[in-house]
Amino acid sequence: MNFASQGGHINPWSAATMIACVVLCSTTGEVLTAAAMKSLGDLDEIRAHSGIKGAIRAVVSCPLFFAGVSFLALAFFSLLFALNHLNLSLVAPASASLTLVTNAVAGKIFLKENVDRRRWTAAVLVCIGVYFLAH
């Protein structure tokens, strides 16, 4: 099976590594951003008390937020690198679907979220749905 974007040949392990990098960076970024926002509390309440400037100040003064955004930027550049070597029809659905599942695992482990059977089912259904939609 050839999934190289420019007619060349790509080792399946290299393709898997590129997609894994995108998924790993994206999941780390999402989890760090979510942790940052949880530590701040409800942004709507902050905005009601200190206005929109106060809400922006609260977000940009959180170090976890910058760590999350850095990983999201890294995920974006990993995606661009992967798209340079692999077909869009492989990279887009694979990274979008796998990220949903890895986020559910990371949310349970690192954010101690209650990922019950309903959320697992939703993550898997959306994951398969995104795969079908992108093909």
């Binding site: 951003t33 509390g41 709507d44 949903l100 959306v126 749905g129 939609l133």
Partner: protein
């Protein structure tokens, strides 16, 4: 409403960026100034504005809901794009894609039925319990010291 904004702004922003970039001549890495000039074209500027709106709504949603709730719920944006392409751009949608739409809709309805945030009654109850114990021991110490002072005065 916030989740709706996240679901709509992200795919619309991406579409605007895609439309704007395909209308531009090929951008080479040797001329990065062309990328900066691209930011001021109407489609790219609209796309960036929509993506800023997406990120602000996404952060707001994460401040009151779990990540494992927000991500599947906002995946409904994929369905919106597919339906827009079918009924607005009149693009054909295969049976496989309709199946994808049905699965995402089912997944979103599953997650939407549950709570949006993990409640931690154990942690807060334990916290209240510890506070009560600390308060009780502090009160006892004050009582003891008062008694000691009274004894000394006698």
């Amino acid at each position: 409403m916030i989740l709706g904004l996240v679901a709509i702004c992200a795919p619309l922003g991406d579409s605007c960026l895609s439309r704007g970039m395909t209308r531009l001549p090929t951008v080479s890495l040797t001329h990065p100034a062309a990328l900066i000039a691209a930011v001021f074209t109407p489609w790219i500027a609209t796309g960036i504005a929509l993506l800023i709106g997406f990120f602000a709504s996404y952060l707001t949603a994460l401040s009151w809901a779990d990540l494992t709730f927000v991500l599947p719920a906002t995946a409904f944006g994929n369905v919106i794009v597919a339906l827009l392409s079918r009924f607005w751009l009149h693009e054909p949608i295969s049976i496989q894609r309709w199946a994808g739409i049905a699965l995402i809709t089912l997944g979103v309805s599953f997650v939407a039925q549950g709570p949006s945030r993990t409640e931690r009654p154990g942690v807060s109850a334990a916290g209240v319990d510890v506070s009560k114990r600390v308060l009780q021991s502090a009160t006892n110490e004050i009582d003891n010291s008062e008694e000691a002072v009274e004894e000394q005065l006698r």
